[in-house]
């Protein structure tokens, strides 16, 4: 039996017409001699009635001041995929193809016990195999599994797999069933050299490596989730990204051994960032170290996602998602850090060049004490991180110069840079994002890539 796992994202199951188009993909695979297995996401995207975000919001709307329990959130979110799988299976039936829907747990997906971001620990796909052998098309809910504690507790706890969870489900099911291929269906032709919203007619890459696609996702593009790519890579399952609504051949995700070479893969961007640069120059070396440690301890404790980190004897800086900035400001603005020892300095953190009422109040309270020093974080709101992805290529002499010269000639200020083995990123004003993406895309000749 030749098994093909086909995952359909939110837009591919959003409407009856979309579900018919997706179903036809499965039927076509069946006619080609495959035993297809479907994995589905929740119906639609943010704002639509049964999308995951909408379901979460329903809980939060009850009383925004009360945070829902992670267990309850997982149960709520999982409803989206359950609805989707049943509707999709019934759609297949109306087209004359027998189908059965399965929750993640029914499909044999067992996870660890972390609600909201569970990892798959094992799969026992007996029910799926039985369903295939009986001639059905199994439709599995993406994004979910169950945790069985093993301590004698009754039942199994439903868990969700976190970001990109349905892609992860598809790869894992593909690995468990020794599928010939896993195909991720979406509403674009495959992995593009840039976001088509920034670069009209950005070409579709025919092949990318697993690590390239993981880095592209890390730096902001929504393609295949790295977890899905990793599972496919580990188990040697061919992975494709295709368009439900077009006959484009899509992008094949392969290992570096299959597709070696030095190249630039694409340009990605992460918008809606706030950049903070903390001036620690007033602190002696030993106290600066303690302040940095305290700062990053707070960031870790509150789960802040840091971008474009930098450290220097003058201070430290990083960018954070705009969505996390209010929480971060709430925690840091007015924070006092007393440091004992010979100097016994007290440091008062201030976010932004103008002191808030909170900082002023704190300052007044501390006035009777001596040795009060301010740590001021210069704030740049409205930033974007634009990144060039390219394995080996970026290590060549002159690439940094080329990137910065391109942006300088276009009079785009670069606030900071960051680089790794796979990427080179520039922090730029958000208003310039699309222009910077286009400049770098053209500058590296990506329009001609296939």
């Amino acid at each position: 039996m030749r098994i093909k796992v086909m995952k359909f994202g939110g837009t591919s199951v959003a409407t009856h017409e979309a579900r018919i188009a997706s179903a036809m993909r499965l039927i076509s695979a069946k006619e080609q001699g495959f035993s297809p297995v479907a994995v589905v996401s929740a119906i639609g995207r943010k704002g639509q009635p049964y999308a995951t975000d909408t379901l979460m919001q329903m809980l939060r709307d009850i009383d925004p001041s009360v945070t829902p329990e992670p267990r309850e959130l997982d149960l709520m979110m999982a409803c989206g995929e359950i609805l989707s799988s049943v509707i999709f299976a019934h759609t297949l039936k109306t087209l004359g193809h027998s189908s059965q829907s399965f929750r993640g747990g029914q499909a044999g997906i067992r996870t660890d016990g972390v609600y909201g971001n569970a990892r798959i620990v094992s799969i026992l796909p007996r029910s799926i195999i039985q369903s295939l052998e009986e001639g059905h098309i199994p439709v599995i809910c993406g994004f979910q599994g169950v945790y069985v504690s093993g301590d004698g507790s009754p039942g199994a706890e439903l868990t969700t797999l976190g970001r990109g969870g349905s892609d992860t489900t598809a790869s894992a099911i593909g690995a468990a069933l020794h599928a010939e291929a896993v195909e991720i269906y979406t509403d674009v032709d495959g992995v593009k050299t840039a976001d088509p919203d920034s670069v009209k007619n950005a070409p579709t890459l025919r092949k990318v490596t697993y690590d390239e696609v993981a880095e592209i996702a890390h730096l902001g593009a929504k393609v295949v989730h790295p977890r899905a790519a990793e599972i496919a890579m580990q188990y040697g399952i061919p992975l494709w990204v295709k368009n439900t609504f077009s006959d484009d051949e899509g992008t094949e995700i392969v290992t570096r051994e299959v597709f070696p070479g030095r190249r630039v893969t694409g340009v990605t961007h992460t918008g809606k960032l706030v950049y903070l640069q903390f001036d620690l120059s007033s602190a002696p070396d030993n106290e600066r170290t303690l302040l940095e440690a305290k700062l990053y301890e707070v960031m870790a404790e509150f789960g802040v996602n840091l971008f474009m980190l930098n450290l220097s004897p003058m201070g430290t800086g990083f960018a954070v998602p705009r969505s996390q900035f209010p929480m971060l400001r709430d925690v840091l603005d007015g924070l006092t850090v007393p440091i004992g020892g010979a100097t016994s300095n007290i440091y008062l953190f201030q976010i932004g060049l103008k002191a808030s009422r909170k900082v002023e109040a704190q300052s007044e309270l501390l006035q009777p004490l001596e040795n009060i020093k301010r740590v001021i974080a210069e704030l740049t709101e409205g930033c974007s991180m634009v990144s060039v992805i390219g394995h080996e290529y970026l290590q060549q002499a002159g690439v940094f110069h080329r990137v910065l010269k391109t942006l300088d000639e276009a009079q785009v200020p670069v606030l900071q840079t960051s680089d790794s083995d796979f990427s080179l990123s520039c922090l730029v004003p958000e208003a310039d994002t699309n222009r910077v993406v286009r400049l770098l895309h053209d500058g590296f000749g990506l329009a001609e890539m296939v």
Binding site: N305, L306, H401, T417
Partner: protein, 184 residues
């Protein structure tokens, strides 16, 4: 049912416990995903770090001049960071002499220190583990290591430190993160 363990990457088919089944499945119990958190710490040595300051104005143009000459010298750079009055970057130790020649010719204020290493902390899908990058940096700083630069990728954090401190930092990170993994 017979439970057979199979290592990641192995593709030996194992018959499933269904009579007359044509389908071969991998195994009834397989760990599909890498564990979350820090999985490995690695040290790469043999680097030098350049700091250029007081470049003058316009700063962006002056930085570009430096980078252009460095590129013309055939020198590959990593970990480029903008500093308030200049920039800094990392080169391979073997290129120190070539960089000295370039920077002297530009008549700039600079320091060039060899004996730098990069400590790589591997953690799969690091962006999904909110706070982990900050936690790694906090552990490094609290452990007494001076981190000169830091960067990240989808599966690792890279920290530039003095070579004499690299192993200590690696041990600190392992103790802070990998011992906890083992304990669980």
């Amino acid at each position: 049912m017979v439970e057979v363990s199979l290592k990641v990457g192995q593709r030996r088919p194992i018959p499933i416990p269904f009579p007359n089944s044509q389908i071969q499945t991998m195994t009834p119990q397989t760990e599909f995903e890498k564990r979350r958190g820090v999985s490995r710490v690695e040290v790469r040595s043999g680097f030098a770090q350049a700091h250029l300051s007081n470049l003058g104005v316009p700063l962006a143009g002056k930085r570009l001049e430096v980078l252009e000459q460095v590129a013309k010298g055939g020198i590959s750079i990593d970990f480029l960071k903008m500093t308030p009055m200049g920039l800094s970057f990392l080169i391979k130790a073997a290129e120190v002499d070539a960089l000295h020649a370039v920077l002297k010719a530009l008549n700039l204020e600079y320091s060039l220190r060899d004996g730098r290493s990069v400590v790589l902390v591997h953690a799969v899908n690091i962006r999904d583990e909110e706070g982990l990058i900050a936690g790694i940096l906090k552990a490094a700083i609290s452990g007494g290591t001076t981190v000169h630069h830091i960067s990240d990728m989808h599966d690792r954090v890279l920290m530039v430190v003095e070579s004499s401190e690299a192993e200590k930092l690696a041990d600190t990170v392992k103790a802070a993160f990998m011992e906890a993994v083992r304990a669980n």
